[in-house]
Symmetry: C2
Subunit: 500 residues, 2 copies
């Protein structure tokens, strides 16, 4: 028996190594690769992905897993969990017939190209036939995976196991109503922040240096990672000891790189925090995108947009930009970095309005998959919801329903994880403040490590041992829900804007 | 039949893609990787190398190749060559029993660790038992590969196909005698260059900028490559359109980075110069290390240490280091960059003495393999040869027979390729000057591209269609030999030092 668990570990190590090389190729593509190398890299990625898929779906691998699973009572709890999770992955990845995957891959590639053109021309009609076929395929995929209730449940399971459309509808329904009402009051408030001081040029090197300082003081280990520049910030890992982040700079925007660094830093701390003994196995990875996002959002928003954080870091920032922040005190900084402005583009949305962008997409995705809405109605429905929830008029589809890449890549069920990250972070944070009563004093004193310690023990080291709902319930006593997040928002923004 | 050649192309493409990912991991390891990632990267490299080896030595791959080879008369000339070369690779890589390879890999790892320690302590005795076992294993390996004449022939075939110990003994014998005599005269010459001006600090960024300028003007395509910094300069490729170089800087040494950039640039131009139609096949790669080295040495030495080159680039260099080269004219630069000084360390040797370092190693390697010398005699033999050929006293083994990594890595037969690169380059260059009579005028005018054009057509695009001796013979009408190189050396250094 021991021999077979060792065989499994060897196999998982091999798969993890191949996955790492694919990730390295992806990182290099976005950080270093010369432009003429793109087609060749595409072939290399295809070859390596095929090798990975072949090994991960080999019938003898399935036999090994089923045999181990049948004898789970002879395994330790961790071994049993490792077998269970690996078998889940195996079954998931063998459920789709090869011909279907091939067809979908081709459709994705064509849809992606069509979407790029359509967005450029703001021409939804050019993308519509591709999206129609994608919805059909996603619906077929849901059937292949199998589901109870909404077909959406089969897809969300790819990203957030244990979450359902029904549960999300409930959570998001509550959230939408209250968050919308809050925003309406904020927009109407006469008590708006003064952000004119932000309109300066912010030296890129100084932004880099400040970001690196914060990143290392968050506890990110630069001997087991590095930061580079890329067009779109991201986090990737090639094993526990090589977790890399990227950021980008806008000299007109003081907050952009800073926020992205803390956001990616939060993701990276999670990846650097798995147990060494879980490395190169199924347990040493994240359980869900929502949990992953809870880590990035907690650092970016709950910490990076808090008053205590700026009590410590405003003087540091002033040293990095001599003379440029003379008129800025902690209050002004705190108000400026939390300025609320309902807007059209999800990726540029502020903390307070962000979830509404997600809820709109979730409502549309489920309606499309459940057959309650036609693809042709998308622009109309999209624009109406933006008007209703955020109070903004969508001038064209490029800034409307064509703005995100996700649908062209067939990533239905993905969007909710962004919002769930916010909810999980707030739920966890209530418990964190109970467990570390002086946390804010510590952060105001420049020490963020007690928070990292808590996250290590309660979230990172858990790896894939618990699904997100069970992880949240284990920490807070409650399943995922919106109360903590709404409390956080109304308290913080109520005070900032003098509204209730 | 067509289908089977396509199958072969697919297979070669797949192998090429895997090779590229291994190369990318190696590049990243030396350029970017955080230090704690080393053990994980080691595992990833081992996994990927094993996958590569499994596929490259699979019996069904051999069957495919042999079947194609049996029907070569039905193939085009290029297809037949591709089959022949691939079959050669296949047979070479399947000749060693797996148990032997494993044993050798372990021995290498231990020998490498022992060598590092031994070199640090300058303690040959600590390395001797490892080297003894390595020699035995190399001898066994030669038997497994099979050979005629010297067992060395089986090993040199790994790096320089078609070359033999007998031929090398002849070439190097002639070379050693005449090169040694020339150096003796140079050292005794009263006409020594003034190099005191070099003792300044040379700004790293200015060195980088100058190097990049030369590199791009050599014709290196930065859209299909990039330059980075690493501890040891090297060239690597992940396909025809992604050929990367690295360099290193020493602010005390104006020539170090410049030479290494042109050297690696020469390697990279070769790799960027294979035919697009040969990409991802056996034909689109270098035929030998000697030919590869001929390209790097030609650019580094024949061009980069020529007077016409500096007629154009000295003013450019002066712009990069304002005020630091006021007293330097073309003559002074030309003499300084060609200063000769017999020394102990191969990698620091000047152009004029370099080959003697190689010849010493070749004589020792063959004597060890042919049983004419014992490992225990190495320091004594080494030191005697350095005294005899180069006139220098070796103070300790760290600066003597322990200086190179090659033997600890079981790379017997590798050293000669460095010297052959010099010989090939000089042989080719005689023909180049016939074909492009105004080449030096062109270079003095800042245009090096006619040289690149010639190399593309006559060397790069040949790929693996010709072995080195046939390539050289096809270009010059003569097999590899030392006359051209000796003519070059005696003419150039005779004039520089006023000796004959």
């Amino acid at each position: 028996m021991t021999a077979t668990i060792q065989n499994l570990r060897d196999k998982l190590g091999e798969l993890s190594d191949i996955g790492a090389t694919v990730a390295l190729m992806g990182w290099d593509q976005q950080v270093n690769m010369p432009k003429k190398a793109a087609p060749g890299r595409g072939q290399q990625l295809a070859t390596m992905s095929a090798i990975y898929h072949r090994m991960a779906t080999a019938p003898e691998f399935g036999d090994m897993l089923r045999k181990l699973n049948d004898e789970r009572d002879k395994l330790s709890a961790d071994e049993a969990k490792m077998v269970e999770e690996t078998l889940w992955d195996y079954e998931r990845s063998t459920k789709l017939p090869e011909a279907f995957v091939k067809e979908l891959t081709e459709l994705d590639a064509n849809a992606f190209a069509a979407w790029q053109e359509a967005r450029k021309d703001s021409d939804f009609a050019a993308f519509q036939p591709f999206l129609e076929r994608l919805v059909v395929k996603q619906r077929e995929m849901a059937d292949m995976f199998g589901f109870e209730g909404s077909p959406y449940n089969a897809l969300v399971e790819n990203y957030e196991r244990g979450m359902t459309a029904e549960r999300l509808t409930q959570i998001f329904g509550d959230l939408r109503e209250k968050q919308s009402a809050l925003i309406e009051k904020i927009v109407a408030s006469p008590n708006q922040p003064d952000i004119a001081w932000l309109e300066q040029d912010w030296d890129e090197q100084a932004q880099w240096d400040f970001g690196m300082k914060v990143l290392t003081e968050m506890g990110y280990d630069l001997d087991a990672g590095r930061q580079d520049k890329s067009t779109h910030p991201f986090t990737t890992e090639f094993g526990l000891k090589d977790v890399r982040v990227t950021t980008r700079f806008d000299v007109k925007d003081l907050f952009s790189a800073m926020s992205s660094t803390m956001h990616e830093g939060g993701h990276a701390l999670y990846e650097q925090g798995f147990l060494e003994s879980d490395a190169r196995t199924t347990l040493g990875s994240s359980i869900s995108l929502g949990v992953h996002e809870s880590q990035s959002r907690m650092w970016e928003n709950l910490i990076g947009r808090s008053r205590p954080f700026w009590q410590h870091y405003l003087p540091v920032l002033k040293e990095h930009f001599p003379g440029q922040l003379n008129d800025v005190d902690v209050d002004k900084m705190y108000r400026s970095i939390n300025a609320v402005k309902p807007s059209l583009i999800r990726v540029e949305a502020d903390e307070c309005t962000y979830n509404l962008h997600i809820i709109i997409r979730f409502e549309i995705e489920t309606a499309l998959l459940e057959g309650r809405m036609k693809v042709s109605e998308l622009p109309e429905v999209w624009n109406a919801k933006y008007k209703e929830y955020l109070g903004v008029d969508v001038p064209n589809d490029a800034q409307g329903c064509l703005q995100d890449v996700h649908w062209s890549g067939a990533s239905f069920g993905y969007f909710p994880t962004y919002a769930l990250g916010n909810l999980y972070a707030s739920q966890m944070f209530e418990k964190i403040l109970q467990d570390i009563p002086n946390l804010w004093e510590s952060i105001a004193g420049g020490n963020m490590l007690p928070l990292l310690d808590w996250l290590r023990k309660n979230v990172h080291e858990v790896g894939r041992r618990k699904k997100a709902p069970q992880l949240i319930e284990g920490i807070t006593g409650k399943l995922p829900e919106s109360t903590a997040y709404l409390n956080y928002l109304t308290t913080k923004y109520g005070e900032l804007y003098g509204v209730k």
